[in-house]
Symmetry: C2
Subunit: 444 residues, 2 copies
Amino acid sequence: MSRHIRPMIAACGLWSCFASAASGAQHIQGPRLNGTVTKLAEYGAEADGGVSRIGFSDADLAGRSYVMGLMRDAGLAVRIDPAGNIFGRRQGSGNLPAIVFGSHIDSVPHGGNFDGDVGSLAAIEVIRSLNDHHAVTRHPLEVVIWMDEEGGRFYLGSFGSDAAAGQLPADMAGRQVDGGDQLATWLKRAGGDASQLAAARIPPGRVAGYLELHIEQGAVLEKAKVPIGVVLGIVGISSRTCVAKGFANHAGTTPMDQRHDALAAAARAVLAVREEVRAEPGRQVGTVGMLKVEPDAVNVIPGRVTFTVEIRDLDQRRIDHIDARILERLAAIGSEERVSIECTAPEVSRPALTSPEFQRIIHLAARDAGLPAMELPSGAGHDAQNVAQFAPIGMIFVPSRAGISHSPQEYTAPEDVTNGAEVLYRSLLKLDATIGADSPSQSQ
Amino acid sequence: MSRHIRPMIAACGLWSCFASAASGAQHIQGPRLNGTVTKLAEYGAEADGGVSRIGFSDADLAGRSYVMGLMRDAGLAVRIDPAGNIFGRRQGSGNLPAIVFGSHIDSVPHGGNFDGDVGSLAAIEVIRSLNDHHAVTRHPLEVVIWMDEEGGRFYLGSFGSDAAAGQLPADMAGRQVDGGDQLATWLKRAGGDASQLAAARIPPGRVAGYLELHIEQGAVLEKAKVPIGVVLGIVGISSRTCVAKGFANHAGTTPMDQRHDALAAAARAVLAVREEVRAEPGRQVGTVGMLKVEPDAVNVIPGRVTFTVEIRDLDQRRIDHIDARILERLAAIGSEERVSIECTAPEVSRPALTSPEFQRIIHLAARDAGLPAMELPSGAGHDAQNVAQFAPIGMIFVPSRAGISHSPQEYTAPEDVTNGAEVLYRSLLKLDATIGADSPSQSQ
């Protein structure tokens, strides 16, 4: 237990530290942390300030070498599992399962320098700060850098954390890109082993708990002017592709009452999706993000329109009943418009809730650090949702400027990065004190 | 005046011939005519029965040679004007301006074998039939095959009839395709002369009248089970390109009430266009045919949607006030959706009305031939609308199966082609007797 936080916890109850905490010591060295964020941005850097550090690319491998160096410099024992996940271990005083924390350093193509990077480098900074403060934890700590969270080259999911959850597809090892590059080759370069992917699975009980700091990728914190988000869970996603089939015909020679206009039907569908999502209170969202018109000519009535319908919420039952209502609406619209509307079966990613106990600890850590915090769902996917398959999880958000992410314009201010790392540091120590003990107060 | 139609006209009033006409003589030789339609289809034929005989292509030049051969075989004096329009002249008995009739033989890429071909070959068949019946007309007759009606290679309009109307752009002669093929080169191959394009203009008064037989390219005649359409005019077209600009953002992290969804706004616009077009009685049509979403990803709220708005009607004032109402609606939608919607100035093609006198003559000709006829607008553009700039016009439509056109599935039954040619034949002779005379009866 850190010498530095013990007096504070001793001095106040779980929910009553706020006033005193405003002057609480800061453990994280912000410039040191933000310097590593700036440095990591060099790997895969693009001229406009964006980055392409796609998982299983040369830039990714170079970035991984850089962070492994930081981990070793911080005294961590670094290993790479068969899926290419990097773990850096710091021993604990007790014979306990590890507390794991980290994120990913791969990016989307032409992405930004904060998504994943902040959580990864803050985790390493936490280790350095623990070292600075000669803090000893009961649990071993493991910084993790998950392999290929963004996916896309060989796999659409989050490769490394899916492997840890034992949910990679069976054909993974043999995958190739355009008959050329093989996953197995790139995984070997990354220090993994495609023939041993099953061994990357982490069974329940092996990890005591998982924390991830991440940028919000939305504008809720910024709009609320709150520096710390306590994540309630990662929303589930249900997405379908729908096709409206009418009849393409001459826009001049086909009277209005003889049309089977696939775009008019799709336009009603777009609005019906929004209406059904808005029809009840809650934080659920629904989006038609893709829409393609055929034949797409100024003088031809659209004969076919393909569009996607995506619904997200923390509550799978709410997703399901909104989805069902949308399908009813689409059927009615198709019938009225004399256009067939058919949708694929939904692709479903189920919600992953964070541990209420972890939420409580993050709240407390934020108050100790003098930082206002608010609860919110994560609308974006994260490695944490895969980890939730085998361990309790907690997530901390820091603000994203204008909510922009997956873009070169993605930005989180250095003080927000530092604040997030400080809350991660404090949460980690509270977690170390709390979990596996009968009650928080007993661990003091 | 033909020996064959004189007794019929003598025997009945202008609107009272229907009963007797059901047994009226047929002048056109259907198999001979439809044989030429089948033969022309070989030039630019594609494996699936479609045709690509694009204006200023080798297939087009070969097709033109074929029809010029037919014209010469029919005794016509063939000349090619500087714009490549083919005229085949048959002398008349009087010192009068010519009556011109014909169509075009070029096709859209991957088009069908009836659009243009039917009117062109029927015009030549009419000459053969006049010869068969030793008919003499007061006016000289000229069959015209307009150059490049469909446009697209060097020019988006109808090249030949635009030249005749004196409305080609000034830069026409120098146009090239991708820095390679030059219009001047192809026009020379076609027998034209790019340096003399202005001389292709036909001044008002030079042509006594123009008739064009064409397939409907819509399904109005087929649905009404009426073989002959009397065209009221060629609709005017007003088209705009509009851009809805919202803000592209993460579909998971952006709450419903913080969105600036360009697709939701565009969907409302698509429906508003239809509502405003339908808001009053009439044959006006309005179409959103193109719509492009950016960035067009399942998990991104659309930030930008580009779409077209096209309105067609015979009455330019109606087009204008529907267009104005649509713009008002789009502005209101943009404001409500917090999305800017801006449209280009309209591209306008003004309506071209057919001569009421020519309409009356076509009605009469159809009744004489025992063929039911109905009036309808032409929703598609035709060379006739350019000719209307310098001469009175009339148009005859025959049914298109399922209203399909600009497609290999385009089809008009041989008996409909023959019926159309018969009505063209009879209309031409009535016109010859009528125009330039004080009244129809005086010309008998």
